[in-house]
Symmetry: C2
Subunit: 302 residues, 2 copies
Amino acid sequence: MSIVVVGSVFFDTVETPFGKVEGVIGGAATYFSVAASFFTPVQMVATAGEDFPADEVAFLQSRGVDLTGLELQPGHTGRWTGRYHEDMNIRDTLDLQLNVFADFQPVLPDSYRESPYVFLANIDPQLQQGVLDQLQAPRVVGCDTMNHWIASARPDVEKLLRRVDILTINDEEARLLSGERNIVKAARRILEMGPKSVLIKRGEYGVIRFAPDSVFAVPAFPLEEVFDPTGAGDTFAGGFMGEIARSGDTSEAGLRRAIVYGSVMASFCVEDFSLARLRKLSNDDIEHRYRQFVSLTDIDGM
Amino acid sequence: MSIVVVGSVFFDTVETPFGKVEGVIGGAATYFSVAASFFTPVQMVATAGEDFPADEVAFLQSRGVDLTGLELQPGHTGRWTGRYHEDMNIRDTLDLQLNVFADFQPVLPDSYRESPYVFLANIDPQLQQGVLDQLQAPRVVGCDTMNHWIASARPDVEKLLRRVDILTINDEEARLLSGERNIVKAARRILEMGPKSVLIKRGEYGVIRFAPDSVFAVPAFPLEEVFDPTGAGDTFAGGFMGEIARSGDTSEAGLRRAIVYGSVMASFCVEDFSLARLRKLSNDDIEHRYRQFVSLTDIDGM
């Protein structure tokens, strides 16, 4: 089944210890859509400027991403400039120009409204709620957020969480949202706010999922070269939600498999700048790395 | 089969966000021995002062730890004072008094010399080599070290590593030893120095093992209360090496199982100060948590 994603489309300028790229395509909706497209048809809701390149439109469409909901507005696409430290878990935002993204009001095309799967990438929680209001009866609602909204719009975040099935969030956001330093306690508090699952993203240390009756942890795939962590979290979410939409399986086993697919996709994302690695990816590459993940984590040997 | 451990016996004064204890028993050889004792007979080589309490001697003996190699010297047992930050991955050493440990010259009793398993806890690498010289034909040599020796005695560390089967080390030590920031590259470089396995301890993020042809990663057990991380690495090593000595199984599957047992033991260690949790531990507790680890990490569901 198809999945709706709502989020940002940006141009990124990124410097890591391994190099620099300027004005390459980025944004949460972009990374999510490309990753999810390996599993299921994707319906994107986003906004970009008139400067958005026709070849990127063509690329997204070639991946089966429905762009009916991508509004190209007069003006410029948003731009983010960031620099990663030697320890690539740390990055500084050097510049942020929201441009047309500042006025983003997500409107779902009629053809999207029956979609059973939706991912609300990191935008204003009021807009995220507005998206849910436009969906008829979503079966699985995935959601991301960030420190900024937790600190400045907590009531909106809490209201939203009551309508969310799966929250993806990082360590620090989980601590800020819950007021608990310990990550297990933090997750338990967040589960009480509404979500049925909390997925805590820990970058190079992997992902840990908390549900009321189960915990599942998977390491990140150990890579010799991490070129650029930008988009890894959204690519994870794309693989994860894409696999759920493909299989329709929200059992414990189904969600675990989806988490591994998300981790597989994120591991490819960071191997090059922007979408470079995902553009070249094949389904065989994905299945091969999935099997490597099984071997990496299987307590009973290989 | 029995395992020999050589290392420190100390009194620790520890402050964490959850409380403070003064002059409680600690030291790498102590944590290792108690953890390993749940799996196999342990032969300890260490030094303590005449102030070492008779009831701790009795406790260690009650756990099946052979103390023939524990020399009680005139003077005081070593003392370490440390304080953990709110983020308990970070700690400061506030005071260190080596006392009798400053003159530690490990001498193996004759009854230890045929032991097929040995763990060289973190001491001067020249002393670690001296221990190997006293063993007839060890089948598995496990070894720990620290930044101090890597920086100040690198030739001795490198000479030692050529005789080591399994090195346990943390992220930062692995980076310092290898000169590589990326942990996969760091492990590959260290494998070239001699060890057949490198186990990188990542605290709350678990353990990752590198061998020439395989990688295995296991998360730490997610705990709601981490009281005191002191001794977790040595307790891990005790469970890990203890299980290897018990089973004699150094196959890929055997080493993976041993890593999980090490992780289980470390997860108990941090639940209370000093040896408090390990003193109350039962084999049933260990097996129960082992099964929880399987459930925590099993990609195929539970």
